[in-house]
């Protein structure tokens, strides 16, 4: 289990590390790394591999919004029933149950403002359990999943020092 956690700590931010390199970094056998990753994929500990993209740089004009959703928990299933329904919409990127003044934090991607507005008014707000929503459109992205979006500075250390 310790090896698996070590692997996850490495690939959490660098999904493309090869098993061979991970093995070198951890002082383990490559075969053990391959096996551990396969097991974690089968056990759904690793669900998939995403890419962190600065869409602005390639001129894409999609829109993202974070939506605060207040819901009425249901008998027997609590918050899970409605959360699972919201998850099914393909526009929805992530859903978290959170503490505080609202219940679900939902991140939605769309082509433009209208598309997200339509999703909220037609699909999300109309669910029986949903009491209210507050939509926050993302205006600018500074940091995602530990990656800062501004260009990194070059190595400014002295080329050779004692």
């Amino acid at each position: 289990m310790e090896l698996k956690k070590q692997i996850l700590n490495l690939i959490a931010h660098q999904a493309k590390l090869s098993p061979k390199l991970i093995a070198t970094m951890l002082g383990a056998e490559e075969e053990a790394i391959v096996r551990a990753i396969r097991e974690m994929e089968e056990d759904k500990i690793i669900l998939g591999y995403n890419t962190v993209i600065n869409w602005d740089k390639i001129g894409s004009d999609g829109v993202t919004a974070t939506i605060e959703v207040k819901v009425t928990p249901q008998r027997e299933v609590g918050f899970n029933g409605v959360a699972e329904r919201i998850c099914r919409f393909s526009e929805v990127r992530s859903v978290h149950l959170v503490s505080g003044s609202y219940d679900l934090s939902v991140v939605v991607d769309g082509r433009d403002l209208k598309e997200i507005a339509a999703f909220v008014s037609h699909k999300l707000s109309t669910l029986d359990e949903v009491q209210s929503t507050v939509t926050h459109f993302v205006l600018k992205t500074y940091k995602v999943d530990n990656f800062v979006f501004e260009d990194a500075r070059e190595d400014e250390r002295l080329v050779i020092s004692p």
Binding site: L10, T24, M25, V159, I160, S161, P162
Partner: protein, 391 residues
């Protein structure tokens, strides 16, 4: 312009110019150089430490501090050393905050060396000890260390170098440039010789947090050695704070007081902003520091595996962030190897002989660099070796 050479002190003139200056000049003029020649972390100081400095400035901490350094910092240093090496120092009169360990080395040498005294310096080791001894009117005596011993300082080599004028032994482990460490038993083997010959040890432990197989052991923690040891440490390597220039010395009050006398007339005090940041580093910096050490360890293994792949022989360094591979298979001197590697493959490394005669036949490669840089540099070195390997 007429020469002013005749005005320069003969002692200063007797110190040879730095062996790495030439490579610095060569490498910094070239484009597209990958450098494994740096001697500092590739991390920026953790944000919370930088923020402590901003806060200090906002609060108006811009004045002198006590010559010894801020008492809060000295208290934190005392706690830290007690926790790390198990030795207690009084914050009142046994700790002195300096401008990096470099100043502390100079102070210790100047406070202790009488003209003609001999300072025993591991060979190879960091570049400032021997010149520091000479500038203090002493004589530097190299104590040979060898690849076959993983560059640990062996008692028999130390004994060979001792004369009636021997006064100080420098111990700088984990070692720059070799990455060597001294285990407890290695240090124990030196203690009798040190005590029998009435030596004082200057222990430069700046890389103490950067060990990869068990914790650092300080000679100050061994029986009979506390008062004989001037313990030097600082923030540059463990907390990625090289540019802040904050170090310190711990030791017997008589020695610290003598060092303080020089410090108060030449330096006055370390900058208060740096000292405030150092307090934050000691109070809350452990987690970030551990992450950095873990990251060095990954890259240490990558570099070692890379050298193995290209057939470059290197003992496993257990400390600091350097590998010290042998280049004997090329038949070149370290300097020739480094110059040609730079010209032909645009990879900068430091010739081993810059750190002492025993470093000849080796190069220092720093793995505080990105994984892609390390891999590219090693691949280029592989090409170089393929062209120049002799049998």
């Amino acid at each position: 312009m007429s020469s002013m050479e005749k005005y320069i002190s003969s002692v200063v003139k007797s110190v040879p110019p730095s062996g790495i200056r030439k490579f610095f000049d060569l490498a910094s003029q070239m484009q597209g150089v990958i450098s494994l020649g740096v001697g500092e972390p590739d991390f920026v100081t953790p944000w919370h430490i930088r923020e402590a400095c901003f806060h200090a400035l906002e609060k108006g901490y811009t004045m002198y501090t006590s010559n010894h350094g801020l008492i809060e910092l000295r208290e934190e240093i005392a706690l830290y050393q007690k926790h790390k090496i198990g030795v207690c120092y009084s914050p009142e009169d046994e700790i002195l905050v300096t401008i990096g360990v470099s100043e502390a080395i100079d102070l210790a040498l100047r406070a202790l060396v009488e003209p003609g005294d001999e300072v025993l310096v591991p060979d190879p080791s960091f570049v400032c000890y021997a010149p520091g001894a000479v500038l203090a009117y002493g004589k530097a005596v190299p104590v040979k260390t060898f690849n076959r011993d993983q560059y640990r300082l062996k008692p028999e080599e130390l004994e060979k170098c001792i004369t009636p004028r021997s006064k100080i032994l420098i111990l700088s482990y984990p070692s720059n440039p070799t990455g060597a460490i001294m285990h407890k038993e290695d240090l124990m083997a030196l203690v009798d010789i040190i005590i029998k010959n009435d030596l004082i040890v200057i222990a430069d432990e700046i890389y103490s947090e950067l060990t990869y197989n068990g914790s650092h052991v300080s000679i100050a923690s061994l029986p009979g050695m506390r008062d004989r040891t001037v313990l030097l440490n600082g923030f540059s390597k463990a907390f990625a704070m090289t540019g802040w220039r904050i170090g310190y010395a711990c030791g017997h009050p008589d020695i610290i007081s003598a060092m303080k006398k020089i410090h108060q007339y030449s330096i006055m005090c370390a900058s208060i902003m740096g000292q405030k940041a150092a307090i934050e580093a000691l109070r809350n910096g452990e987690n970030e520091m551990k992450k950095m050490v873990e990251s060095y360890n990954y890259r240490r293994r990558i570099m070692l595996a890379g050298f193995d792949d290209i057939g470059m022989s290197c003992f496993e360094p257990k400390g600091a962030f350097y590998c010290f591979p042998s280049i004997r298979c090329t038949g070149m001197s370290s300097e020739e190897f480094c110059e040609r590697l730079l010209e032909e493959e645009k990879v900068a490394v430091v010739p081993g002989n810059a750190f002492g005669a025993c470093g000849e036949g080796h190069i220092r490669c720093c793995y505080a660099s990105s994984v892609s840089n390390i891999e590219e540099a090693i691949s280029r070195m592989g090409n170089f070796l393929n062209r120049h390997r002799k049998a």
